[in-house]
């Protein structure tokens, strides 16, 4: 235990052998604890809830990262991009002015995670590292070209987010690697974006089907397009065929429908309590079409409310 203790005043005082807990204030101390088998907890909204639902026990050895200042915050970087610390909360992301203006799909996503109580403590890093095929933020992050920084005692490595996920609940990160931050590159002028999900209720919901579109308009034509699907495959993933269907078009309804058909064709949905696979595949086309149209509207400077989900239902 002494190796893990940071000597801080907010640490509990250990009284007997067994489970362990530490709440250090530096990344070095966090990765030292991870190197000896401790598991990371931030807001607990996946880790602890999973244990209550019987999916896994709360890990015996815990390192809490909520006190590490260098993992916090959202900051513009010199090349026009954005840096997000792993413990940036969904509430902070949803209200960040830069994200709402330039990375709007990410604000759409974070603003519909759980309820306000979830968003107060639930973190971006947790949403990514949990690797759910239904994770709201992963599609927007992938489409904006996000990279994530992993750190362990062996050093740091940066990899594109779309190379991180290896299956439902699985990533290529090693057990002792901490997700430190996420970086988003600058987006070209004329870019608009949208994330929306099919939902049965507005809050405390998990995406039945989700889709992200990021489009860049130049002279009335789409010159760059990124599309991702959520809750439709073993991992959140991009759909190059849908992107190809948009490039060179004006972003009209016919192009949006072609993108939707491509997203449906690329889907590998499952049957579960929230929807049948056939329904998910059919709705993949609809939700993808809607997010493409909303992203095009935003690229043209038109207002689509954040989050987009509610306003798009039946509206397009």
């Amino acid at each position: 235990m002494s190796a893990l203790a940071s000597g801080s005043t907010a640490m509990g005082q250990a009284t007997a052998a067994g489970p362990s807990y530490t709440a250090p204030t530096t990344v070095d101390d966090v990765i030292a604890a991870m190197a000896t088998g401790s598991r990371v907890v931030a807001g607990g909204t996946d880790l602890v809830v999973g244990s209550r639902q019987g999916r896994w026990p709360v890990p015996e050895h815990l390192v809490a990262i909520h006190r590490v200042n260098s993992l916090r915050g959202i900051r513009p970087v010199v090349d026009g991009g954005l840096w997000l610390g792993a413990t940036a909360t969904h509430g902070e992301i949803a209200e960040d002015a830069t994200i709402r203006e330039r990375y709007t799909a990410l604000a759409d996503a974070s603003s519909i995670v759980g309820s306000r109580a979830t968003r107060n403590v639930g973190t971006l890093g947790g949403n990514i590292a949990n690797a759910s095929p239904a994770a709201e933020t992963s599609g927007p992050l992938m489409c904006f070209g996000a990279t994530c920084m992993l750190e362990s005692r062996n050093g740091r490595r940066e990899l594109p987010l779309d190379e991180l996920f290896s299956g439902p609940g699985r990533t290529v990160a090693a057990m002792d690697e901490l997700l430190v931050s996420v970086s988003l590159p600058a987006q070209p002028a004329g870019t608009g974006s949208c994330y929306a999900r099919l939902e049965y209720r507005r809050q405390m919901e998990i995406a039945v089907v989700g889709a992200t579109a990021v489009v860049t308009l130049d002279g009335g034509q789409i010159t760059a397009a990124r599309v991702a699907i959520t809750s439709l495959a073993p991992t959140v993933r991009r759909v190059p065929e849908a992107e190809a269907a948009l490039i060179g078009s004006t972003g009209d309804r016919a192009a949006a429908e072609r993108a939707g058909e491509a997203a449906a064709a690329a889907s590998l949905p499952i049957d579960d309590v929230r929807a049948a696979a056939d329904y998910r595949r059919a709705m993949a086309a609809v939700i993808t079409r809607r997010v493409v149209q909303a992203a095009v509207d935003r690229a043209r400077g038109e207002t689509v409310s954040i989050p987009a989900s509610a306003s798009l239902h039946g509206a397009l």
Partner: protein
Amino acid sequence: MKYSATLRVNGFSYPVTIEPQRTLLSVLRDDLELTGSKEGCDDSECGACMVLLDGEPVNSCSYLALQTLGREITTVEGLSTNGDLSPLQKAFLEAGGVQCGFCTPGMLISATALLARNPRPDDEEIKASLSGNLCRCTGYTPILAAVRSAVEMTAG
């Protein structure tokens, strides 16, 4: 291994000795005997366990108790002052916003946080702020009326 720590709840200090896997809800209810916060779904979906952590609502059934060290927790027991109910609590009673009562502590916590950051919310803002709190007595209409009434009482 158990950890000795001091939790700050409703302005009081409570020494506890707990395992690190313990949730804030279980420590509040079983160790501190503050049973106002309820265990509803235990999956952080229903909001019956909601407390304020440094003034913001958190589902205490999925938050580890040791992570609250150095921070201020407010439970429903802390909303009254010397036995006098808050204007919001009185409004819940007067509007019939309490039926079985199980969701009431979480509703009060969410609404208290709303009024602290926005003393004059409109109906949509009230509904959005309460959307993490489920009521199974179909009592949402009087709950909404109670919050609206508290707004009128306190914001003038």
